[in-house]
């Protein structure tokens, strides 16, 4: 489709797509269990071994293969990111759209509620939610979703307000089109562009937050590997086993970088001004 072709011509788009593709493949392989070693198997003889022939990225405290754990870890972190951002995007779109369309009272209520959530620094809000629901995969998803919903609400409400004044919405009103029809066929379809850009940037941010939560010991739980957990485990072993810190950190940075690049490229592709330069 046109967007994909334009994306592949955009320099940062190309890098972004390649990086994400590599990690996506690794994640799928990881979740399917097709990893060089069993991520949970503890090899007593190979504890804290540096990168070498059998274990390309070395082993951790229990002699488990870090590469395999990274593959599963990426899978889990991606899963958390996709789920939470999906939830947030869904909730944000509904709230933003209805707030823009009905305006006045409902708009005020929604925006004030969003202000309340936004007034909480993201990590604190996540901390409270995780403390209530207890640490774990599901909790991380819920925490990140709640933290990110206000941002999606605003990203949707802005353009929706301006779309509402466009003549094709007036035209639809003159035909007597139903409110639902207008919201979905006219407003929503034209919000796909800003939403896609925000989703990719949100994915990058969600990965960072999931890592931070695990770093504080509140994210996904052992023994299932998550990027943040592997990072926090490596904290005290920085000197004796630096590879335990370097590889997970690199994976987090590169995957987040990939999404950021993709988000940037998508913004250029969707922006009519720059699209002509690319087409």
């Amino acid at each position: 489709m046109a967007v994909l072709r334009a994306l592949l011509r955009h320099t940062s788009g190309q890098i972004g797509v390649v990086v994400i593709a590599v990690f996506a493949v690794a994640a799928v392989l990881g979740l399917l269990g097709l990893t060089p070693h069993d991520p949970l198997a503890q090899d007593r003889l190979a504890r804290l071994q540096g990168p070498g022939a059998t274990y390309w990225m070395g082993t951790d405290l229990f002699g488990r293969d870090i590469l395999s754990r990274l593959m599963v870890g990426i899978g889990q972190s991606f899963a958390v990111a996709l789920l939470s951002v999906g939830l947030a995007a869904g909730a944000g779109t509904v709230l933003g759209l209805t707030a823009a369309w009905f305006g006045k009272l409902w708009d005020g209520a929604v925006m004030r509620a969003m202000d309340v959530l936004l007034a909480f620094p993201a990590i604190l809000l996540a901390l409270l939610i995780v403390a209530i629901l207890g640490p774990g995969l599901v909790t991380s998803v819920v925490a990140i979703a709640i933290v990110y919903t206000p941002i999606f609400t605003r990203v949707v409400r802005g353009p929706a307000l301006s779309l509402k004044t466009r003549s094709f919405v007036d035209a639809a009103r003159t035909f007597g089109s139903s409110r639902r029809y207008i919201l979905i066929r006219h407003l929503l379809t034209n919000l796909v562009a800003p939403l896609t850009v925000q989703i990719t940037l949100a994915l990058a941010w969600a990965l960072l937050t999931e890592a931070a939560l695990s770093f504080l010991g509140l994210g996904t739980q052992p023994p299932s590997p998550s990027l943040g957990l592997m990072l926090s485990d490596s904290r005290n072993l920085m000197e004796t086993a630096p590879w335990m810190l370097i590889f997970p950190a690199l994976v987090i940075m590169l995957s987040v970088l990939g999404f950021n690049l993709l988000g940037d490229a998508l913004r250029d592709v969707f922006d009519p001004r720059t699209r002509r330069a690319l087409a």
């Binding site: 466009r166 639809a172 029809y181 034209n190």
Partner: protein
């Protein structure tokens, strides 16, 4: 003495080495005190040529590919360095742009944006800068100049902003002034004021003027020489009278003939006659008022009376033209009929809900970019509760054919030209066999030659389907070609209404007369514009204000004039 002589100018856009050429070798001269008009439709390369002279295209991704532009017989602008150009711009070559609302920096005061020119070009400072700025504003007839200096651009009207732009351009006392469609975005009466101002300044200062426009009628009153451009080439270049009266190139003839020009009533339609049918649309005492400054905890500051007691009716097959300048309430009237704006008072009688459909001004904005032709045309049918079956698709195809569009239901709006898109809107409006079509500035966003085609299509459709048109527009030339009857709207009220021929040939209300006199036409040459600076009156009334009743004076079989003086 020739101020500027341009020989074989070629300009292109795109990356180094493989530019696409847009201006293919243009030659012209400008002498001091003379006005050269460059006329052409959009895409003809007229603006690019102008911007090439003071090398502003260098910042827009373009480059001069070849030719020479000798200024003051000394310096070749085509090859001058950026440093040399910076010394020329503002001091020797001034420029005025099309959109006054966006040409001034929104966050800086007007005084600052004028003062900085005096500071740079004349080395003034402190009090002197302020005094010079006030003198500059007085010269362009801006009332109460001192107070205006401290205002921000968004607090001034389009006309006033354009005057500021002129003041800025002339502050450096340039010997050559380039005006790129300076009045296109303005109302016709304001346009007349700006043309008058330019004419006067040219006489006083003797600057050379390059006036760029798409409206050949407009330049008749100002230009000494006219150059017509098309597709990046100068197709004709000669003295004004010679080009207007004995055009050599058939494209010039097309511009003079086919494009709608105001003929003060001669070109009005004669085929309509009111034979007492039942009106398809009857509007009685329509008023629309907006409270201003209301809301949470603060009382309303006043009420804008956008439309104040407008009444008219429309019989099938007849076109009523509603004419007025911006702020007259003509668009609000149209939108009130379609209930897009809630009327505060008055009755609107139509023959059933789907009887009235609307066509909007900007074809790009009135078609959802993400919908195919099928989706667009199907929407009214779905909205009316029917499902899209075979004969609905059949109707789509016939209508597409009828508006001369390719029979391809899977295309997207961006695959059509402006004119085609507006015809698609018309087809969509006809899907439910309406009785009345409300056309709100339906052709003003189109190119002049495309306007003619759409107007002819509308007339044919009217005859074939017996449609009644409510045609709202600020362009008298266009209204003259399509309206049977004309109503002139001023400050939310009808001041004169009647048969088009009578209203246009012998206008009786002072405002109508002023409006018609301000309309440029090919027949009037080198007119000296009477200078006035009247602004559109504010429609903000105190809360509870009740407008006085209108009394009419019958001046012809179908020609009435409101007696009240302009409020």
């Amino acid at each position: 003495m020739t101020l500027l002589s341009v020989r074989d100018l070629r300009v292109g856009f795109g990356r180094e080495g493989h530019e696409t050429e847009v201006v293919h070798g243009v030659d012209f001269d400008v002498t001091a005190g003379e006005t050269l008009a460059i006329v052409g439709e959009s895409g003809s390369g007229k603006s690019v040529t102008a911007m090439a002279i003071n090398r502003l295209i260098d910042f827009g991704g373009g480059r001069i590919l070849g030719g020479r532009a000798t200024f003051d017989r000394k310096i070749d602008l085509a090859t001058a360095s950026e440093g040399q150009m910076q010394r020329l711009r503002g001091r020797e070559i001034g420029m005025i742009f099309q959109e006054p609302m966006t040409s001034l920096n929104p966050v800086l005061k007007v005084g600052t944006q004028i003062g900085e020119v005096f500071r740079k070009q004349h080395g003034l400072s402190g009090r002197a800068v302020r005094d010079a700025s006030i003198r500059a504003l007085d010269r362009v007839r801006i009332p109460d100049a001192a107070r205006r200096l401290d205002q921000a651009p968004h607090q001034m009207s389009g006309g006033m902003l354009q005057r500021v732009m002129i003041a800025i351009a002339l502050a450096g006392e340039p010997r050559l002034l380039i005006a790129d469609e300076p009045t296109t975005a303005l109302d016709v009466t304001i346009q007349a004021q700006i043309m008058g101002l330019l004419a006067e300044l040219k006489r006083d200062t003797g600057t050379g003027l390059i006036f760029i426009t798409h409206d050949i009628g407009l330049v008749a009153g100002l230009a000494d020489r006219i150059m017509v451009m098309r597709g990046g080439e100068a197709v004709e270049n000669g003295a004004a009278d010679q080009v207007l009266d004995r055009p050599a190139h058939d494209y010039t003839r097309h511009l003079l003939g086919a494009v709608p020009h105001f003929r003060a009533g001669q070109a009005a339609r004669t085929d309509g006659a009111r034979t007492g049918q039942v009106p398809a649309l009857d509007v009685r005492g329509l008023s629309v008022r907006f409270p201003v400054g209301g809301g949470f905890l603060r009382k309303t500051r006043g009420v804008v009376h956008a439309v104040d007691g407008v009444s008219f009716d429309l019989v099938p097959g007849e076109t009523l033209g509603i004419v007025g300048e911006s702020g007259s309430g003509k668009s609000t009237t149209a939108r009130a009929i379609l209930d897009l704006v809630r009327p505060s008072a008055g009755r609107i009688e139509t023959g059933g809900t789907a009887a009235v459909q609307m066509v909007f001004q900007n074809p790009n904005a009135s078609l959802n970019p993400r919908m195919t032709v099928r989706g667009l045309l199907a929407e009214p049918v779905i909205a009316a509760g029917q499902n899209v079956d075979a004969d609905v698709l059949e109707r789509m195809r016939t209508l597409l054919g009828r508006v001369d569009l390719p029979d391809d239901l899977d295309r997207f709006p961006h695959e059509f030209s402006g004119g085609q898109r507006q015809r698609l809107c018309i087809a969509r409006a006809l899907m439910l066999n309406p009785k009345v079509l409300v056309l709100d500035e339906a052709v003003s966003a189109l190119d002049v030659s495309v306007q003619a085609k759409v107007l002819d299509l509308l007339v044919d459709l009217q005859r074939e389907f017996g449609l009644a048109y409510l045609f709202v527009s600020h362009d008298m030339a266009v209204v003259e070609r399509i309206a049977h009857r004309i109503a002139v709207l001023y400050a939310g009220r009808i001041v004169e209404v009647g048969a088009a021929r009578d209203v246009l040939s012998s206008p009786r209300h002072p405002y109508t007369q002023k409006l018609i006199s301000a309309i440029p036409s090919i027949d009037r040459r080198r007119i000296d514009y009477t200078l006035d600076t009247e602004e559109v009156p504010s429609l903000l009334r105190p809360v509870g204000f009740v407008p006085p009743d209108q009394t009419w004076q019958e001046v012809g079989p179908d020609h009435r004039v409101a007696k009240e003086p302009l409020s």
